[in-house]
């Protein structure tokens, strides 16, 4: 921060969003709104079988249909596949064959094996009906718990279904278990869910021959990933790959990486020389974009007489599906490493495995490794029940307090002094009225009503500063008339960055937020985009630094022109004035006009122009933390769960825009509620997906969610603005909080849930099976 930095004027305010006037009036520009001369439309033919050999594929009738320009199969496109990998994925690590279209066999329901490009989407889909294809069905691998042992291989090229196996034994746990008063074991299951951005995936690609330029519009969270990987797939330089960034209708991790279809569109646009658009339909999105949360963790915990956590042994297994989006990753290793969370946990040993199955590929979904909080927080409630201790009291005995910080976790993490799990636990308990609820709950049980309370406390590693994720840049230019354009590598898709970045720039530079326009995509410098709760800290720090660099120059020029000392000047809302003498002032526009159009008047040695580029490198991790507590009522007649109250106490450091922070939390929480109670991307035993519409895949509506109450603990981080990431947190805390509330309501029946979804059928069968015992 420069010495002349203004006091925070806009940071911390719920500034109304600069994005909104166009979006509430229908004047946003999403990828499907892009129309180019001569543009053609692509549609993909997809497998209806989980695993099968293609014995015949005849596209001649489809090709003959009026309006069809081309029909492609795997043999046409897959020669481009050498480069088909995400930039986070090291080229040497094992991966499924990187084909855009299935070639010879299909490996999940939804696997694309043919692509039609036609005059309209209607005709392209007509042509798909004319593709003649025959399959020889093969036994699919559907159950991920047994996939590693199966003789049937999802990817025959890999020789087995085990994608990763990472054992991290720790002999120190043996002694802890030997001395434990209690050893408690449970296997916690999450179930298959999917991101469901309201805008599906989509891309428009336009090749300019001779110029050698590929121009792209896409629904993406990471325009630079698209630029980098797209250029590699096409065999062109990044300087010839122009990625336009418009409005993006959500992603939640799904749009961080290129899908096979995106790459196929890029290649085909170049082969055909005509612009090609592909807009995914909802069925494709539900069946073939990415799934997530298909995982289980067996937890064995050693607990002392007084409830102290002594050690944990973890065994994590996750389903990667057939073609994991962005390449096979190892979130399970993160989930196990992060398991200790906000507690003194003692030594931890773990093993993390991922397997391939003939199902839709796993992909990042808001808090991709939140299994650590799911398993831990559900386990803590179980421990509390087993040892007869109140779950809040058990957490109080083990939670890290300010005196414990900084804290070296046995799994290798280092918590900085700026986390506040104890404070958020206490604030949330106070907000919910913990003791009063327990009294109300006891009273209700006497009346035959079943109330439950669940809580979840977690620490989230945000804004990770390693590898491709480590930096972001901001190129800031004050234009001749004093307005500001800032170019950044982010990919805002609901996070309100046009507003929050403008707030940061406004304070740091001394202008108004509405004088600042954020530009993303083409023209910005490399950055990994928006995801991983990283934009506030990493991109925000770059924006501050760029603004600060320009401000110093503004002040120097103004001081020279006004014949004042730079130390005596202040800048705010586009006016540079002498402190205490507001009449002595000039405007940003006057300074800018001088910098560009009258550079002879600048102070000697000053470079003409008013622009600055800064790149910020983040520390390894900036941890945020939160506590969620919710209450519910269970109807034992129908199995229906009604959420009564939901409180969140969170610490994301300094809030840039409180309205936006609360909005991020609320969105994540409701995704978590949906995941535990309603959503299930279920397959039958033959690998047929049963949730292919919004009538089957139940996204929560306004009628299912309670009013959310948010409390904020503010311990600034050590990063320039004091911020911490907060985009994913809601979806990390909510699943275990909701699960624990339902488990608490089920406790009087003697039921012990260990898997989701907790839909009415599941709740009723838990009650029934408990009463049978």
């Amino acid at each position: 921060m420069s010495q002349t930095a203004a006091a925070a004027r806009y940071v911390g305010q719920s500034v109304k969003r600069l994005e909104d006037p166009r979006l509430v009036t229908g004047h946003g520009r999403y990828v499907d709104d892009i129309v180019l001369p001569g543009m053609l439309h692509a549609a993909f033919g997809r497998s209806d079988l989980a695993r099968a050999t293609i014995t015949r594929l005849d596209t001649s009738a489809a090709e003959a249909l009026d309006g069809v320009h081309a029909v492609y199969t795997g043999a046409d496109l897959n020669s481009y596949n050498d480069s088909l990998r995400a930039s986070l994925h090291p080229p040497e690590s094992p991966a499924p064959p990187a084909n855009m279209l299935a070639d010879g066999d299909v490996r999940f329901v939804g696997d694309p094996y043919v692509m039609v490009v036609a005059q309209s989407r209607y005709i392209a889909e007509d042509a798909l009906d004319l593709v003649e294809v025959e399959f020889e069905p093969l036994d699919p691998v559907v159950d991920y718990e047994t996939a590693a042992e199966s003789d049937h291989h999802v990817h025959p090229e890999l020789g087995g279904n085990l994608a990763h196996d990472l054992p991290v034994p720790n002999p120190a746990t043996d002694e802890a278990f030997a001395n434990a008063a209690y050893t408690i074991t449970e296997t916690w299951h999450q179930h298959r869910q999917t991101n469901v951005p309201m805008e599906t995936r989509g891309i428009v690609a336009s090749w300019q021959p001779h110029a050698g330029v590929m121009e792209v519009w896409a629904s993406t969270q990471s325009p630079h990933e698209l630029q980098l990987v797209g250029a590699r797939v096409l065999g062109i330089g990044e300087h010839k790959m122009v990625v336009h960034f418009g409005d993006v209708g959500g992603g939640f991790g799904q749009k961080m990486f290129l899908g096979r279809e995106d790459m196929a569109v890029l290649v085909v646009a170049k082969l055909l020389g005509s612009p090609v658009k592909w807009i995914e339909d909802r069925r494709e999105n539900l069946l073939a974009s990415n799934h997530a949360r298909i995982e289980q963790m067996t937890v064995k915990m050693a607990v002392g007489e007084d409830g102290s956590f002594l050690a944990a042994d973890l065994d994590q297994l996750e389903d990667d599906g057939a073609y994991p989006l962005g390449g096979p990753a190892t979130p399970g290793a993160m989930a196990t490493m992060l398991y200790p969370g906000p507690y003194r946990m003692g030594p931890v040993s773990w093993r993390a495995r991922t397997v391939y199955t003939n199902t839709c590929g796993r992909g990042a979904y808001r808090g991709p490794w939140q299994m650590e909080s799911v398993a831990r927080e559900q386990m803590i409630d179980r421990v509390a029940r087993e040892i007869g201790m109140d779950p809040l009291e058990l957490r109080r005995r083990n939670v890290l307090t300010p005196d414990d910080l900084p804290y070296q976790v046995s799994t290798g993490l280092l918590y900085e002094t700026t986390i506040s799990p104890k404070q958020t636990l206490e604030q949330a308990a106070e907000m919910i009225g913990y003791d009063e609820f327990r009294a109300e709950q006891a009273q209700a049980r006497e009346e035959g009503r079943y109330l439950g309370l669940g809580m979840a406390l977690y620490i989230e590693p945000t804004s990770m500063g390693m590898g491709p994720l480590g930096t972001e840049s901001a190129m800031l230019r004050v234009e001749v008339d004093g307005h500001v354009n800032v170019f950044m590598g982010t990919g805002s898709h609901g996070q309100s960055l046009e507003t929050t970045m403008a707030q940061l720039v406004a304070d740091e530079l001394g202008v108004r937020p509405e004088d600042v326009t954020l530009h993303q995509g083409h023209g910005s410098g490399y950055g990994f985009g928006t995801g991983g709760s990283r934009s506030a800290v990493i991109a925000g720090s770059a924006a501050r630094a760029a603004a600060s660099g320009v401000r110093e120059k503004v002040v120097a020029i103004a001081a020279h022109l006004m014949e004042a000392s730079a130390d005596d000047l202040e800048v705010g809302d586009g006016v540079i004035s002498v402190k205490g003498t507001p009449a002595a002032s000039m405007t940003m526009a006057q300074v800018a006009a001088t910098a560009y159009q009258n550079s002879d008047a600048l102070p000697p040695g000053t470079e003409a122009g008013l622009e600055h580029t800064a790149r910020y490198k983040a520390p390894p991790t900036t941890h945020s933390n939160a506590c969620h507590i919710c209450t519910c009522e269970l109807d034992p007649g129908t199995g229906k769960i009604t959420l009564l109250r939901y409180v969140v106490s969170e610490d994301c450091g300094v809030l840039i825009n409180p309205m936006v922070v609360d909005g991020q939390i609320a969105g994540g929480v409701v995704q978590g509620i949906g995941g535990v109670l309603y959503e299930h991307a279920v397959y039958d035993a033959s690998g047929n997906p049963l949730a292919s519409t919004f009538l089957d895949y139940l996204v929560p509506t306004a009628a299912e969610v309670p009013e959310l109450e948010c409390g904020h603990v503010v311990v600034p981080s050590d990063t320039p603005g004091g911020h911490k990431g907060t985009g994913e947190g809601g979806a990390i805390g909510a699943p275990p909080a909701v699960f624990n509330a339902v488990a608490d309501a089920l406790a009087p029946f003697g039921a012990y849930p260990n898997r989701q979804p907790l839909d009415p059928n599941a709740v009723l069968s838990l009650i029934a099976s408990a009463s049978d015992e």
Binding site: D20, G26, G250, R282
Partner: protein
């Protein structure tokens, strides 16, 4: 290619004429021939509500109607609600004030649905609001800002006699 049928409807107060096959959806007609790209397609099976428009004053899902079914009708899309380029409709203003949108994709459908809902029920309870907007899906906001925006718009429209 299939027969092209002449189509004519009043869209946001202007006569719009076009040609389309019998199977052309109203949503696609509005997006591609009437330049109403605020009509968003989130599911194309009538559940998400992103494509909601008013047809002769009634909220309908334009993905579930064929354009020929709207031939001769008066259509209002989200683009037609604001009185001018500088002023927002009270529902639009409320969505902005209450952070009733993040990515903005579902927003046009919500705004049109809420406008129609408040027309029919100018003084709704919270429960009626939640039920009234439960036919539209939003994946970003958790509905907190949308419920608040509907409350605010109801109060403002009642006060100004707009409803």
């Amino acid at each position: 290619m299939a027969d092209q049928i002449p189509l004519s409807m009043t869209v946001n107060g202007q006569t719009r004429r076009g040609l389309g096959e019998a199977r052309l959806t109203l949503a696609d007609f509005l997006r591609e021939q009437a330049h109403c790209t605020g009509v968003h397609l989130g599911c194309e099976h009538g559940v998400c509500g992103s494509c909601t428009v008013l047809m002769d004053g009634e909220a309908v899902r334009s993905c579930l109607l064929f354009a020929v079914q709207a031939d001769g009708a008066g259509i209002t899309t989200v683009e037609g609600l604001a009185p001018d380029d500088e002023t927002l409709h009270p529902v639009q203003e409320a969505f902005r004030d209450c952070h009733g949108l993040q990515c903005g994709f579902c927003t046009p459908g919500f705004v049109v649905s809420v406008a129609a809902f408040l027309e029919a029920n100018p003084d709704p309870s919270d429960e009626e609001i939640r039920h009234g907007i439960s036919g539209n899906l939003c994946r970003c906001t958790g509905y907190q800002g949308i419920v608040a925006a509907t409350r605010q718009a109801a109060a403002v429209m009642k006060g100004s006699g707009q409803s």
